[in-house]
């Protein structure tokens, strides 16, 4: 098959396949440091640090797919309004599949979970994440 589309895509979170994903995206960037000196005629660069971040949208469904994202960043159990201490968040393992054999696997911090309930729309969760370290695996 020459092309891939949403039909082939998948998203795994900590080894579990998420069933109601509408989309995912991953952005990788390479920072550069300028080394251009006096009398240089052309700009010169050296490599800085790489970074990756991404996002996905998941429909909230009774099977709890979206809950895995929500529970990572929203911790319950406070005993009073002044209680600011609860369980800390941890990194999660995203496995972003283009098809069943081609994927990128990264550890990431979930940095944002945005939910909105609106008339005429299905309740869904927008998730943003920042990748920590290099990719664990990549088969693209």
């Amino acid at each position: 098959m020459a092309f891939y589309s949403g039909l082939d895509g998948q998203l795994y979170l900590d080894g579990s396949k998420i069933g109601k994903v509408q989309n995912w995206s991953l952005n990788a960037s390479q920072a550069v440091l300028e080394t251009t000196s006096l009398e240089d005629t052309d700009r010169t660069l050296i490599n800085g640090v790489r970074s990756m971040s991404g996002s996905c949208r998941v429909f909230y469904h009774s099977n709890g797919d979206a809950s895995d994202f929500i529970n990572n960043i929203i911790k319950s159990g406070a005993t009073s309004s002044e209680d600011g201490a609860a369980t800390q968040s941890t990194t999660v393992l995203f496995k972003l599949h283009v098809n069943s054999t081609k994927y990128i696997e990264v550890y990431a911090w979930i940095t944002g979970v945005s939910m909105s309930m609106a008339v005429g729309e299905v309740f869904s969760v927008d998730v943003t994440f920042e990748v920590s370290g290099h990719a664990k695996a990549e088969t693209l």
Partner: protein, 286 residues
């Protein structure tokens, strides 16, 4: 196999009533007794010619406005002239023409009187001069397709909405065109055009859109019933054809497709209508 033809279709319109009364101070100088018209302090664009308006005193004293009327309130049909003056009529049809001779005789109040005006429209009337109408009901679709799905997946319970168009010949005053509607008391397309520019109360009306209007008592009629809001009124005037108007509207709240007997009013033996406490006519189904 038989088919329905357009001549069995029609549209009925019920003017909506205001929720809150409009308040004004009626000074003796506001009433022109000889010309049977009076003026109000608020923007008269809140009312439309043909509206049935209940006029009442704020303090419950006798309303000093209509000759021979010695009650704190009363309801009349109104005509608003080009200068913003109001005439009162006992008949809907007469209020559309606005003739001075048909208007109710007025008296000037002895002193300034605080009064309220509130529209009390309570019955459906046929719309005249309609060439054709179209009503579309639709349901929103919300895409639920997920990664890996081979077929598009839609949420089945999206919101329902309706919209439509009325194409009519322009008519605003039957006394000018000589089209005698007599006791039919039909509404004219100009009313819908005026709704668009009506202030305060908005541009809503209740509509019945008959696909097939059978004979009274026979369970064969089919019609849509909906509360509508006029969104667009276009008038086209050309030198080689009839003046036409196109009214676009959207529905608000529930749209119902009904089938069965036509709504009909209960009558007394003498042919007069049985009325409810609010003055509206009693339907057979009530």
């Amino acid at each position: 196999m038989s088919v329905y033809l357009g001549y069995t279709g029609s549209v009925e319109l019920d003017r909506d009533s205001t929720d809150t009364p409009l308040e004004t101070t009626l000074d003796p100088s506001d009433v022109n007794v000889s010309r049977r018209r009076f003026a109000v302090d608020f923007n008269v664009a809140a009312l439309v010619t043909g509206d049935k308006v209940e006029i009442a005193t704020v303090d419950g004293s006798t309303l000093q406005l209509v000759s021979g009327h010695n009650y704190p309130d009363g309801a009349w049909y109104i005509h608003i002239d080009e200068a913003g003056g109001i005439r009162l009529y006992n008949q809907f049809q007469a209020s559309l023409s606005g003739q001075q001779d048909d208007a109710v005789e007025l008296v000037a109040p002895s002193a300034a009187q605080n009064i309220t005006l509130q529209t009390k429209n309570d019955r459906y009337r046929f719309m005249a001069k309609i060439r054709d109408f179209e009503l579309t009901t639709s349901r929103d679709t919300i895409d639920l397709t997920s990664l890996g799905n081979e077929f598009r997946n839609q949420y089945e319970q999206g919101l329902i909405s309706g919209q439509g168009t009325l194409n009519c010949f322009w008519e605003s005053d039957p006394s000018i065109t000589g089209t005698g509607y007599g006791s039919s008391q039909a509404e004219f397309p100009s009313y819908l055009a005026r709704l668009v520019v009506r202030v305060q109360q908005g541009a809503d009306f209740n509509g019945r859109f008959f696909i097939f209007a059978g004979s009274v008592g026979q369970p064969e009629s089919v019609w849509y019933e909906a509360k509508c809001i006029v969104t667009n009124a276009a008038v086209s005037v050309s030198n080689e054809g009839a003046i036409e108007t196109r009214i676009d509207f959207v529905t608000s709240e529930q749209v119902v497709l009904k089938q069965g007997r036509l709504p009909a009013y209960l009558l007394q033996e003498d042919g007069e209508y049985l009325l409810q406490e609010d003055g509206s006519r009693l339907l057979q189904e009530d």
